[in-house]
Symmetry: C2
Subunit: 282 residues, 2 copies
C-alpha cells in the first residue's frame, strides 16, 4: 500500500468491462496499482481497489455480491492458514471503506492473465469468523453500487439533502419502546443526548439485520445508544462480556427492568463484530 | 394534547381519501383527536396528526409538500401575530416527529365542514424565521411518504438492514477533505471518535442542502463533527456566534488553518436552526 492517497472511484476512460492483459497493465492504468497484493489502498484513506483472482477458497462471487476474505496469516509456500488474520494493511483499508461508505473498484481475473474492471462496489458488511483452519479470518461483503442503486437502497447523488430518511432507515419496529424503557439514555456511556426537540437516542441492532448476519428485529436484539456509541458498537470498538462489563473500555451495560437483552446476540457480536485488537491509529 | 401517547401511523379501516363530516367525527374515529387544535400529539411521542383548515396565511400546500406554520403567538380575536411562537406544545411535537423520523397523519378541510384524511407525511425540515409581523414563527416542511417512496428517497420497510447507505447519504463531495483538515476531530466538542477501522467523523452542512434552505455543498458550508454534535447542531441545540464562541454550551468553534468557514452560513444557522430556548425536557 502507498502512503499518498490513491484516487477513489471510477477512472476517466475506464468504464466497467475494460480488459487488461496482465497485472502490469492494470497497474499502469491506475486501476489497481500493486502488482501482487489483492487489496490496494491506505489505512486512513480506505481501500480503492481489489482484485479477485480465485485465490481464496472461502471467497464467494455471485456477480453483484462478493463475499471477500481478508489477507494475511497464510503460509506463503503452501497457502495454508497458519495464523490469525489481523485488522491491518488491506483488511484495515477495507474496514475503513466500510466505515466511510466509500466505493471500491473491483477487478476480476477472467481468464489466464486477462483482468476485467467490473465497476464500483460498496463494502456493506465487515466482520470476522473462525475459518476452517481454526484461525480468525476477516470477511467483507462487497455489493455492486449499480445493483444497489437499481434496488433503490442508495442515492448517493440523488437528493443528498434527505437527512430525515437517514434516521428513518435506522428505525426498528421496537426502537421507540426500547428507547422509552431507557429514557433515551445510552446503555454504554450513560449519555442522554438533549436537543431542543427532546432527548435523542438510537436503537442499535446487536446482531445486525439482514445478510450476512441475519439478526432478528426484536427488543432483545436492540440496545439504546447515543449516536457516537452506535458507531463504535457497529464497528467493533466496544463489546459486552457475558457478565455485562464492557470490552474495549471501562464500565458495564446499563440495564432497564423491562428490557431483556439476549445474551446469545451479545455473544454473536463478540464473536463476529467486536475487535479486541487496539485501533491502530490511536 | 393528551398525556398518553396516541397511535402513530395509518389507522385500520381508514385509508387515504376517507371523508369525515365535522371535527367531532374526525375525533371519534381517532384520526385527529382534538376538536380545535391543528396539531395532535405529545412532546415526547411527537405529533400524530395535523389538520389543514386554511387558517394560516403563511401555509403553502402543493399536494405532496406542505409548508406548515407552527401555532401560538396569535391574538385569539383578530388572528394577528402579536408574539413569538415558542418551541412548545404542537410545535415541539412536530419538531420531535422530525427528530424521530416519525410519520404524521395529514387531514385537509376540503369544503365547509368536510375533512379528508390524506395519508402519512414526514416532517423533512424544521426551522424558524421572522414572519411578516416581525415575530418568530416556526415552519415545518411535510412531505408525503408515498411520494418520497416513489422517488426512492425512503425505504422504511424495504431493506432496513442497509446501514451502509445511511452513511453514504451523508457524504458531501468535500467531506473527506474537511475531515482530513481537522484530523477527524469534532469542531464543537474536540472528540476524535476512534473505531478499530480508524477515526470517524461526519461532514455536517451548516446551512442545510436542498429545499427549503438551499445551502451549497462547499467546504465553507461544512463542519467536521462527531455524530452526537451533528444531531445537536442539525436540531438547533448548539450554534456558533459571530466571534466563533458556541451558543447553547461553553466553548468555541475549533478551526483548522486550511478550512475557511463561511460566516454567512453560520449566521443562517443562527437565524433559522439554532434555538436559544432551553430544551423543555432537560
Amino acid at each position: 500500500m502507498k502512503a499518498a492517497a490513491p484516487p477513489v472511484g471510477e477512472l476517466p476512460g475506464c468504464p466497467p468491462g475494460t480488459l487488461f492483459e496482465g497485472r502490469r497493465a492494470l497497474s499502469e492504468a491506475g486501476v489497481h496499482r500493486p502488482l501482487q497484493a489483492g487489496i490496494a489502498g491506505t489505512a486512513l484513506g480506505g481501500a480503492v481497489s481489489v482484485v479477485l483472482s480465485g485465490g481464496y477458497e472461502d471467497d464467494q462471487d455471485s456477480g453483484h455480491q462478493i463475499l471477500y476474505t481478508g489477507e494475511g496469516g497464510r503460509d506463503p509456500r503452501t497457502g495454508a492458514q497458519t495464523a490469525h488474520q489481523l485488522l491491518t494493511r488491506g483488511n484495515l483499508a477495507l474496514a475503513r471503506s466500510h466505515l466511510l461508505g466509500q466505493p471500491v473498484r473491483v477487478v476480476r481475473r477472467v481468464a489466464g492473465a486477462t483482468y476485467r474492471y467490473d465497476g464500483l462496489f460498496l463494502v456493506t458488511a465487515c466482520w470476522h469468523e473462525v475459518g476452517r483452519s481454526g484461525y480468525r479470518i476477516w470477511r467483507f461483503l462487497l455489493e455492486s453500487e449499480a445493483a444497489l442503486e437499481s434496488e433503490g437502497t442508495t442515492a448517493a447523488t440523488a437528493a443528498p439533502e434527505r437527512h430525515a430518511t437517514t434516521r428513518l432507515r435506522r428505525l426498528s419496529r421496537h426502537g421507540a419502546q426500547v428507547k422509552a424503557w431507557h429514557d433515551h439514555t445510552c446503555q454504554l456511556c450513560g449519555l442522554r443526548l438533549l436537543t431542543p426537540a427532546g432527548p435523542y437516542a438510537e436503537a442499535a441492532h446487536i446482531r445486525p439485520l439482514g445478510q450476512p448476519h441475519g439478526g432478528p428485529d426484536t427488543p432483545e436484539n436492540l440496545l439504546c445508544l447515543c449516536p457516537n456509541c452506535h458507531v463504535q458498537f457497529d464497528l467493533g470498538g466496544v463489546g459486552v462480556a457475558p457478565d455485562l462489563t464492557l470490552l474495549g473500555r471501562p464500565g458495564a451495560l446499563r440495564q432497564a427492568r423491562a428490557h431483556h437483552v439476549d445474551p446469545a446476540q451479545l455473544a454473536y457480536h463478540r464473536t463476529h463484530i467486536y475487535s479486541e485488537e487496539p485501533g491502530p491509529m490511536a
